[in-house]
Amino acid sequence: MITTVPVAVATAAPIIEVRGLSKRFVKRLDLAGRLAARLGSGAVEETVHAVDHVDLTLAKGEVVGLVGESGCGKSTLGRMIAGLLPATEGEILFKGQARASLDGEEARAARLAVQMIFQDPYASLNPRSRVEDIVGEAPLLHGLTTRKGASDYVDSMLTRVGLDPDFKRRYPHQFSGGQRSRIGIARALAVKPEFLVCDEAIAALDVSIQAQVINLFMDLRRDFNLTYLFISHDLGVVQHIADRIAVMYLGRIVEMAPTDELIAKGPNHPYARALLAEVPRLGREKRKFRPVKGEIPSPLNPPSGCHFHPRCPVAVARCSIEAPKLRVIASGRHSACHLND
């Protein structure tokens, strides 16, 4: 088996460190609601705990896969790391420095170093801009290229992601889905980032095109020593590309482990086990599906204690009272389950 994992990954300094990061979305009461509350109707503000005290460290050159079902907060976490959403609580460190404390040139450099690639290759490109503007605008603004050199710069970026530079005068609607996602990647690469947050970046593509883009991601990582946070609901893809996998459930990371170990030894957390067992695979034998019961509860009103306990096949009394902490269970492996005690 050939792996493209650089040897130095484990020892490399962290590029992004997330400490106790939380995001709460509060739906404020409108006037009628406030009046009703004052009159004793019991109307209260609704709070969604999208991300709940998450700690995550990404070493330079590493690919971390973030998996979970819809509504588990993985996209919100990705957006906070990319700097698109402010955090409610906690801090994000970029190369050891709290990002909030940086200012001026340093803050700008830290922002540029982290770029995001979005899920929908249709909605994330301005339909009225030509490709050369989509890709070339940011590097020009940030002085990475000159007005004179911009054309060549865009050509080189497009070539790098496998697009013909002759197409750069075209608009997004003139491209196919796979080509559009390449434009999105070229746009992110154009500001010379070190870290890419890929939020379901290949989910909207056909299988054969998906393979092309996955290969591109792996080539770019090798050539530019990029670090990825690869957010996806598709465990097959994540297993293929990630060095480490973090599994999220209702705003919390429940398990984190190196991919090889997760596959070889199996997950520790019952939710991660259920999730991995249910990934359809190209197995030869016909498998009977043995589904985990129930559905992901509403983040408006998450279950007490361990969020997974109502669906968990091995839950004990303590699980419904006390929330388990994410703790080291073996070298490099973390899990948040009381059964490890």
Partner: protein, 327 residues
């Protein structure tokens, strides 16, 4: 396999006559499904798999038209039936599950209203009996507390729950054939596994034949008995699921399978199919896959490749990967 198949599609051609030209969305598709069997119809977007499904149910609107071919359902040719007869079959003997359950469910009607309506449209029984049937159907697809769900509106249910209701409605009249068009694509993996489990159970229990349309090879590998792979409006390979997945004969199937990330090739480059699917507006004279095919020969570009029987499968290729499959 002595009994006649539940559904037999023979050389079906559904074309769309647009201003830009004739779009040959389905161009000579043939397959069959037996009772109690699940056929996986696999293809990428634009391969014509959904249009094939819509054609079977007579859901093709102008500018689309079934140009030729036969769709034999228990001896009747659906392509030639009048609308009245079709309506008596749809939702009764043949039903469909769509990708988006909100396409099936009416947002302003309660679940029980919609389910009872489906029963009463085809059968002359009392409202009470129909309601009881609806409750049973919901329980059958694994919905907890079906009595409570019956009086709910679609928006009160989660995505997975809605899809189950849609499946329950599809199965409520014990149809002979169900067409499922990417029913789990919009769902999470744990919910998808539940739905697949229930679909499989239902087919085995009721003897319903099912055509499961999907782009996801991994889903179909575990679910289907047989697979038909579509490319640019044609079935390029059809055979039992195990054989097609283990030893693909058509270069496109081979490339498609290589594109799926699996455990044992972690971190390695995926085999990718170069280029992209051709425009259905002007398909080449020869094999539509020729431009992307690594085994392309002179004859591939010159004439249409007929379907031939190799190793018990039908393959539309003049240079199939027989040696690899036998080895």
């Amino acid at each position: 396999m002595s009994a006649a198949p539940t559904l037999e599609v023979d050389n079906l051609k559904t074309h769309f006559f647009t201003k830009a030209g004739v779009v040959k969305a389905v161009d000579g598709v043939s397959f069959h499904v037996n009772a109690g069997e699940i056929l996986g119809l696999v293809g990428e977007s634009g391969s014509g798999k959904s249009i094939t499904g819509f054609s079977i149910l007579g859901l093709i609107d102008p500018p689309g038209l079934i140009v030729s071919g036969a769709i034999r359902f228990k001896g009747e040719d659906l392509a030639t039936l009048n609308e009245e007869r079709l309506r008596s079959l749809r939702g009764n003997r043949i039903s469909m599950i769509f990708q988006d359950p909100m396409m099936t469910l009416n947002p302003v009607l309660r679940i029980d209203t919609q389910m009872v309506e489906t029963v009463l449209a085809h059968e002359n029984i009392g409202r009470k009996a129909a309601l009881e049937r609806a409750r049973e159907a919901l329980a059958l697809v694994g919905i907890p507390a079906p009595e409570r769900r019956l009086v709910a509106y679609p928006h009160e249910l989660s995505g997975g729950m809605r899809q189950r209701v849609a499946i329950a409605i599809a199965f409520i009249n014990k149809p002979d054939l169900v067409i499922a068009d990417e029913p789990t694509t919009a769902l999470d993996v744990t919910i998808q596994a539940q739905i697949l489990f229930e679909a499989q159970e239902l087919c085995r229990k009721t003897g319903t034949a099912m055509v499961w349309i999907t782009h996801d090879l991994a889903v179909i590998a575990a679910l289907a008995d047989r697979i038909a792979v579509m490319y640019a409006g044609r079935v390029v390979e059809a055979g039992t699921a195990d054989e097609v997945i283990a030893h693909p004969l058509h270069p496109y199937t081979h490339g498609l399978l290589g594109s799926v990330p699996t455990r044992n090739q972690r971190g390695t480059r995926l085999t990718q199919i170069p280029g992209m699917t051709p425009s259905l507006l002007n398909l080449p004279d020869g094999c539509a896959f020729a431009a992307r095919c690594p085994r392309v020969a002179q004859q591939c570009c010159e004439q249409q490749i007929p379907s031939q029987q190799i190793l018990g499968r039908s393959v539309r290729c003049c240079k199939p990967l027989v040696a690899e499959a036998v080895a």
